[in-house]
Symmetry: D2
């Protein structure tokens, strides 16, 4: 059983009628419903909950955390960010969506500004698969097309991805590295670009397929057990 | 069901008593027996069989091919190498073991000489996990220790690995990038260093665990479907 | 002094009036003239010359080889391809341009099909810099714009680039990894997409700047001296 | 002219007679003297200076910063760490040495714990070149040997290196990724393992050669100029 928590700041849905109509129970519940299936148990957590819904107990029982944030990045407590960071290093998978590129947790895991170009013009985005062997691209065609999305353009100030899965084309003339993977300690991180709150992106079956694939990819495998600190020699010196 | 074929040139076992005593039914059968389990169907193929046991039909029904060769590299027909190469690009996983570094198929997939330093002195090898988040390292400790192995030392003339999972320490003073992954087309390739024929390496449970993990990692995921060739524009130009 | 040879099949220029008018002395001479400067000595070689102009002596005195081929890939002799391949592994830089993606030398260095989507529609290409720290991007702005180019689209069947410097946007809706680097043995390889023969791409100062930067990047640095083959232990075993 | 600052906490040299005798004017001055040459201007800075010697003006006039710290990591002010971090993202090269793996600046650029195994036993270290094409390995042989060093062993909790240049062998049985490169924003980062304060490592000519090579590699190239923030479309949508 893979245990997933979808975290959402849950702000826009309560302040903007367009967002509310698209995601009446919040982006988190739409994503959770869209990826729940046999073998995958999905819960949610939001900014306003106690410790943002990310207590030690919750995180210790989470295999993969999905993160959507935007207007409330600064309201996420630093000690919670530290806690999530530590859990990732210990093996929890993390999937950061869209405007989460500027979240404290993503920036602290990347070590860069995570800045980018952007534009809200409802233009067409086409996400091309550039690594068809990657499990996160499982079941897709050559690309995913989204009729209306916010534009994110290069330069995206992230470390060179360990694996580059998607590159986006935008009608307005830009490109973007839209699906990128990293290992951090024993944990895996996937950033996936689409998902502006005023578009129905998280109702798109291919977008949900990618997130669902990423959950499988990011789930910890009870990997090797590294050893740190002072150590006696294994051989006679 | 993941369908695996273990390919072995099957020469040393018939010519060398030490090797025969370690692997009486051939290295291929020892490996096949060691990784067979629920959900994994394992067959074998050898150099002397018709088309080296790698007919179109066999390969089209193989998800992961494991390759052990040494003395007979030159006796593998070029058209079979081409056929395996094409199958890898179409999605078949390939696990190349030990002296397979000099096989035609590995060299053609790498594009380099695949040369290295080597020594047969039965010295100790210790394979350190350098990427504990990697699924191929699942279930291991900090390292695998092999009391007696052939030494392979750097420089190993391969392309920079896409993922580096193991680095070996040798008693004689060398190191080696011992577990390395690549994507090639829609297929995945894993090279794993240990397995000299005069040592009982493929009876080691941790070595078998790594190969078994690698089978899961390399099995095709019915990935994205790329499109090639001349194409009409998707947008009005 | 960095010694460069620009190799060109030199076929289209003699058969097509448009190409001839753009490159009256051949693409090779336009590129050579465009990158010649203090400290860089540039010669040319073509398919019709003895040994395609790539004798042992020429290659042994070349630091960086630039390759433009298209209609004549099959007419390049295999033993010359082998010779160039060996020189790359020994340290010679190689810059492969545009339709050179299907050259024998590039495919043998990559180990993949190097296939892609393509379209001749004279559409706009915009090459975005995705790694502004890379020396090959020195002196550029955020992107290079080419008013008319042939389209190459993903999936581009190459190994994951070691460094991804440029990603192209095309008006017709595709993207492409347009500037990619690899190490192969002691040599460095850079593939750069633009340069269809019917457009004035190699007269563009930014394109020439990229090629010129790439020459500096790819020039051998009298690097470390690897050792291969059978070796005595460095430590008492 | 490449402008280099060697930063050192300068603590052990004043507290430990062994260290003082090896580095009477401090590790920083030994390194500075060892890498100064035509075209490279080298200064120093230490913890006790005003703003640790790293004022805005100093950093704005520095191309490459070299960092040695150990006992005083916590005494480095956070705002100075932020300042250095920002300068790296804007293009300044950073070379982190030995125990600097636990410095605030390195950890914030990596996003991981940067933890490792260690042992002070004065054992032999042999640094193998695993990427002979890399400019940082220029002029070396197959390896560098250091008779006495502190051991650092895997797992080293860093992001997968973008380029892996050296792997260390230790007499006590461990290995370590000893020379690793990263791009961060417009800046380049090189971590180089050797240099425990009680050994004469920074008097070793090959170690100095590596640091000197790394300075050339890390020096900013007046690279591409990325653009961030809200942007008008480049094409009609």
């Amino acid at each position: 059983m893979t245990r997933v928590i979808v975290w959402n700041e849950y702000i826009h849905e309560k302040e903007n009628k367009v967002v509310e109509s698209l995601y009446p129970r919040g982006i988190h519940n739409t994503i959770a419903d869209g990826i729940r299936k046999d073998g995958v148990e999905v819960g949610t957590a939001t900014l306003e909950e106690h410790e943002h819904g990310l207590t030690e107990e919750v995180l210790n029982n989470t295999d993969v955390l999905i993160w959507w944030g935007h207007a409330g990045h600064d309201r996420v407590e630093d000690y919670i960010v530290q806690r999530v960071h530590q859990r990732v290093l210990k093996g929890m998978g993390l999937i950061v969506l869209h405007s989460g590129h500027f979240s404290k947790i993503f920036k602290s895991l990347m070590g860069t500004s995570c800045d980018l170009k952007w534009r809200e013009a409802g233009e067409k985005e086409r996400l091309w698969v550039v690594d068809p062997a990657h499990p996160i691209a499982e079941g897709l065609g050559a690309y995913i097309e989204l009729e209306h999305e916010e534009m994110y353009g290069e330069h995206f100030d992230i470390p060179a991805p360990e694996e580059l899965v998607f590159v986006s084309w935008f009608a307005g003339g830009e490109v973007f590295r839209s699906g990128v993977t990293y290992h951090r300690g024993q944990g895996k991180v996937f950033y996936f670009r689409p998902g502006h709150e005023t578009y129905p992106t998280y109702h798109n079956q291919e977008v949900l397929r990618v997130i669902s694939n990423a959950v499988q990819w990011a789930a910890p495998k009870h990997g090797a057990t590294p050893v740190y600190g002072n150590a006696q020699p294994l051989e006679q010196i």
